[in-house]
């Protein structure tokens, strides 16, 4: 606890920086799990393995939607009301995990989702699900641009800033604000995904 307080104070004061542990931007321990997911998805697609395709799509999609909703609509507003040092302290523990988790669950969901849609004939223009799938592609497309073009760069920039001997609290605050807003937008867009996917499953 004392260490945490010292770390927070060091972000705000003009005093000489206190030695803080370096943040590992990409947690290497998580890479084998991510690699295993890539191999599993590849095998599922190569073998047209129905159960594995559905498992990856449902598990990945459930996690993706759940995490986006929770981060965007629950954690985001809480973070927005915290002080910059508190936000930075949280980000140091939270964001490296997101660097590994989010691309993995998104890859699992999208790669297998397209295969399932193709196998079930939902991609054909005469399928009643076709318009819903196009809507889903558009929602995912907007989320991808926001996540890959704005949210993830801000996330990684915060981690690099925090690894500097004297982090710029104002810059961290600015980048975190970008993270909070974009996470909120993707969270709201996941509600559209829930509506679309439940429509597709029940038509």
């Amino acid at each position: 606890m004392t260490d945490t307080v010292k770390d927070v104070v060091s972000l705000m004061s003009d005093e000489p920086p206190i030695a803080r542990p370096k943040i590992q931007v990409v947690p290497l321990k998580g890479l084998p799990i991510s690699a295993a997911a890539v191999v599993f998805v590849t095998l599922a697609i190569a073998g047209n393995w129905q159960w594995a395709l559905v498992f990856c799509h449902v598990a990945g999609g459930g996690l993706w939607t759940g995490i986006d909703l929770f981060v965007g609509l629950v954690l985001g507003p809480i973070l927005g009301h915290l002080s910059i040092p508190a936000r930075a302290e949280f980000a140091a523990k939270f964001m490296p995990k997101m660097v590994i988790i989010m691309p993995t669950v998104v890859m699992m969901t999208l790669a297998t989702g397209f295969q399932i849609a193709r196998k079930m004939g939902n991609l054909y223009a005469n399928s009643p699900n076709h318009p819903w799938l196009i809507a889903s592609f558009c929602v995912v497309g907007v989320m991808a641009v926001i996540a890959l073009g704005i949210l993830e760069p801000a996330n990684i920039a915060v981690l690099f800033e925090m690894n500097k001997p004297v982090p710029n609290g104002e810059l961290i605050g600015r980048l975190m604000k970008r993270f909070i807003y974009t996470a909120g937008i993707t969270g709201l867009m996941q509600i559209a995904t829930l509506i679309i996917m439940t429509r597709v499953a029940t038509q």
Binding site: R118, A144, G149, N168
Partner: protein, 140 residues
């Protein structure tokens, strides 16, 4: 000019840069729209002229970002390359998986070529945006 008269060097967070991040994000948006177009027509043939136009605009935006990046002064290329290396590794895996899925689904000919080039733009644009956003605030 004596040292005490020299203008203060702005810190990394105060320096202004050309909109390289927005250009590479624009390139990403173009190939994503193109990808949606190709996927929405599968397994039929998508209108390749529209997809090609989107690919060309995306490639031009990325090229502009690259040219601006090379001409930058007061920019931490070391940090840029360090981040770019890791990000391109991750995006190559994603792009390879998408390419594999398209090949597995018997996409071929001009459609496969366009998808491959779109994936190339994707693989370069995301690391460019991430690495530029990080490096613009680096002090070295």
């Amino acid at each position: 000019m004596s040292v005490d008269r020299m203008p203060p060097v702005p810190s990394s967070s105060e320096r202004s840069y050309p909109p390289i991040g927005w250009l590479s994000t624009g390139a990403l948006a173009m190939v994503i729209v193109g990808g949606i177009l190709m996927a929405s027509y599968a397994p039929r043939k998508a209108p390749l002229a529209v997809a090609t136009a989107l690919l060309v605009v995306g490639a031009l935006l990325l090229l502009t970002a690259g040219v601006l990046l090379v001409s930058l002064k007061d920019f931490s290329r070391t940090t840029f390359l360090k981040v770019f290396k890791w990000a391109i590794f991750a995006d190559l895996v994603t792009a390879a998986l998408i390419e594999f899925a398209f090949v597995r689904d018997h996409t071929n000919g001009a459609s496969l070529l366009i998808v491959t080039f779109m994936l190339a733009v994707f693989t370069l644009s995301v690391p460019t945006t991430i690495a530029f956003t990080v490096a613009r605030y680096a002090e070295d």
